[in-house]
């Protein structure tokens, strides 16, 4: 499950941040990806909300600054939603 979820997140991050999917790893973050600025961050959050049909809390959005952080927030959200 986690690896399928990670693949989806990597695909979305690659689209939104406009970098090749191969360059996106769990460690990719606002520090390592040059295009991951505040505008792209909002864009990424909205793309994730659209794909997974969820709405993130402001605190979650602030935390989701790396691919692994995105993964962890999404996993928690989905566990809580019972899926």
């Amino acid at each position: 499950m986690t690896s399928a979820l990670l693949e989806k997140i990597r695909g979305i991050a690659a689209d939104v941040l406009e970098v090749p999917a191969a360059q996106i790893t769990p460690k990719s973050s606002t520090e390592t990806v040059a295009s991951w600025d505040s505008v792209h961050h909002l864009n990424l959050i909205l793309a994730l909300e659209q794909e997974f049909q969820v709405q993130f809390e402001p605190e979650e959005i602030d935390r989701m600054t790396s691919v692994e952080a995105v993964l962890s927030v999404l996993e928690k959200k989905r566990t809580r939603a019972g899926s």
């Binding site: 695909g11 979305i12 689209d15 939104v16 406009e18 999917a21 505008v39 909002l42 864009n43 959050i45 909205l46 793309a47 909300e49 659209q50 794909e51 049909q53 709405q55 809390e57 402001p58 959005i61």
Partner: protein
């Protein structure tokens, strides 16, 4: 192909320089996924393909009181797929007022083709939005007057400095009125107050030549509660939920399609499982589903949607693989048919290739293939048309018949922002055109044919009543158009206000009916030279010597005003070959070349074109205004 395979295949096609196939797959990707993720992918790939595609550049300003940035990739992706290469200028937050009133602002320097003014109720009328319960009747009225006064001032100032199209969002109602159920009980209600502003906005828009985007209706269509994301509003000033961003964009595209002329002039429909349920050749008249009850009702709803298009001036045509007589019998005699054969401007019922049929229909209707939309339940036919005629707008066919009518109604290529008397009568024109062509075939000489038409032309200066149609013709006439200069209503009004400039239009009647206002000429005279800036005729009257009658009027008028020469450019486009020989066949000679463009001149002391004797000419006096 799954989405990630599709992306890889698109990148492979871009690498191997197959732009056409890459665009087809990008469109396929977008049909299944209009998220911000897919939008970002599309935009970045289109950026690479751009030099190979024939996209129309278009400049759009958005003046806003909220965050719209995350919608821009979605907007640019949707625009790319519509053939538009969009450059967007965003005003700073709540800086729309300064941008509008300052003639040197970034907005006006950007010189957009269109501008969207998107201001929320809670920003422009916070008192009406959240403090309504505390307001007295006088205070409510003051707030209404203040807000409508502000909109009027902004829209007038915009018009003063800018000739771009202006699209204004109206004001949304709150999800729950401040006074709850009580709000429904009196006319002094919150919903009435906001409704009053919206009604007023409509008349201000009419005064200033702006268009209203019914934002309130858009939000309510998708559900006020679902539309909003209060957390995003409070944190990043984005009021619209992620799942509805593309709906906002689609609504904007409904305006950009007609403004940038990315529209379909005709819809070609299949019959079986499209206009009725079942297959006429197998199920017969008694077996097909078409009537007021389920499931036939889905197809009647579909036919109502097509009738609405017909009344909007969009031509309807049939292209179906069937035995001609079976299908015609159903069209003409089935009691459930709301559409009659007279609603169809062209009918092709045969077993031939649909792409070829579509080419023939376009030729018969005298429109480009790129002005056709196509609706067919058979995915193979849709695929064939997409591959062979990529300029045809193929409508996504829903699986469920009950959704058919909606699929047609939401197509942006059928949007029109104004409608002329000509639009409403268009279907009938094409019917009389068919009769004319039959007459032409039965008469041996051209002259006899012209005489038999009994044409009466009426030429008049520009009036407020003709302005909309005149502007429309300059924007949509492609074939008999010498310069293809596109002007909007504001530009034409501004042009004829200059000394020496005139704009004329021509109406043509014949024994088969009234063709309506079918031609426009714009000219200006200076130092005894009259230059024709614009000369165009609708394809409805091409080849019937009306152009000679119109030119003869212009030449005589120029002469009477002291001009000794008449001149005009022919600017070739991919589509205006029918006008290429116009000047040479009327005695003009080339005096200048600029690339492909040629400047033609006629010395009036030497020759003045005469009106053909078979065209009755009536001149309406008066000046432009």
């Amino acid at each position: 192909m799954n989405p990630s395979e599709l992306r890889q295949e698109i990148d492979r096609l871009i690498e191997s320089a197959d732009a056409a196939q890459a665009v087809r797959l990008l469109a396929e990707l977008w049909r299944g996924d209009n998220t911000n993720s897919a939008a970002s992918f599309l935009v970045s790939r289109y950026e690479r393909l751009r030099p190979k595609l024939n996209l129309l550049p278009y400049r759009l300003s958005i003046l806003r009181s909220f965050t719209v940035e995350p919608m821009l990739p979605v907007l640019r992706a949707a625009a790319f797929l519509a053939g538009l290469d969009l450059t967007v200028h965003l005003s700073d937050f709540n800086a729309h007022v300064q941008e509008i009133i300052d003639p040197a602002s970034a907005l006006h320097r950007f010189s957009p083709g269109a501008a969207i003014l998107a201001v929320q109720t809670r920003d422009v009328a916070p008192d009406l939005w959240r403090d309504f319960s505390c307001l007295t009747a006088e205070q409510v009225q003051e707030a209404i007057d203040r807000v409508t006064g502000e909109f009027r001032a902004w829209m007038q100032a915009f018009r003063q400095h800018n000739q771009a199209h202006l699209i204004v969002h109206n004001l949304e109602q709150p999800e729950v009125p401040n006074r709850g159920a009580l709000d429904g009980q009196s006319s002094a209600s919150q919903s009435e107050a906001i409704g009053q502003i919206n009604r007023e906005l409509r008349s201000i828009a009419a005064e200033t030549g702006a268009y209203v985007l019914d934002y309130d209706a858009l939000v309510s269509r998708h559900g006020r509660q679902a539309w909003h994301d209060e957390r995003k509003w409070l944190t990043v000033r984005l009021p619209i939920a992620a799942s509805h961003l593309h709906h906002m964009v689609e609504e904007w595209m409904r305006f950009l399609h007609p403004l940038a002329m990315k529209i379909a002039k005709a819809l070609v429909v299949d019959l079986d499982n499209t206009l009725w349920g079942g297959v006429i050749g197998e199920d017969g008249m008694a077996g097909i589903q078409l009537g007021p009850e389920y499931p036939g009702a889905a197809y009647q709803e579909m036919q109502r949607a097509l009738l609405d298009l017909h009344h909007r001036g969009i031509l309807l045509a049939v292209c179906s693989k069937n035995n001609h007589d079976d299908a015609m019998e159903a069209i003409e005699r089935h009691p459930g048919m709301l559409l009659k054969s007279s609603h169809f401007a062209a009918i092709r019922i045969n077993w031939a290739d649909k792409a070829q049929n579509l080419r023939e229909i376009a030729a018969e209707l005298k429109i480009g293939v790129d002005a056709l939309a196509f609706l067919d339940d058979n995915p193979i036919e849709c695929q064939l048309v997409r591959a062979e005629l990529p300029d045809v707008f193929v409508i996504d066919m829903p699986r469920e018949p009950m959704e058919l009518a909606r699929a047609v109604r939401v197509c942006p290529v059928f949007e029109r922002l104004s409608i002329s008397a000509e639009d409403q009568q268009r279907g009938a024109y094409y019917q009389s055109q068919r009769e004319r062509e039959q007459a032409e075939q039965s008469i041996s000489s051209r002259e006899d044919f012209y005489r038999s038409l009994q044409q009466e032309a009426e030429i008049s200066p520009l009036t407020t009543a003709t302005l909309a149609r005149v502007a429309q013709l300059t924007n949509k006439t492609n074939q008999f158009n010498l310069t293809t200069r596109r002007y909007n209503e504001q530009q034409i009004t501004a042009m004829v206000a200059n000394p020496g400039w005139n704009c004329f239009s021509i109406r043509v009647k014949d024994r088969f009916g009234d063709n309506g206002l079918v031609g426009v000429a714009i000219m200006h005279t200076q130092d005894a030279i009259c230059e024709i800036d614009t000369f165009l005729l609708s394809c409805r009257v091409i080849g019937r010597t009306v152009e000679t009658a119109f030119l003869s009027f212009l030449a005589h008028r120029a002469q009477a005003q002291g001009a000794r020469q008449v001149q005009g450019w022919f600017l070739p486009t991919g589509k205006n070959a029918p006008a290429r020989d116009f000047y040479s066949s009327h005695g003009f000679t080339v005096v200048k070349r600029n690339g492909e463009a040629t400047l033609w001149r006629l010395d009036l002391s030497h020759e003045v074109p005469q009106c053909p004797q078979w065209v009755g000419l009536h001149i309406v006096d008066g000046d432009n205004g």
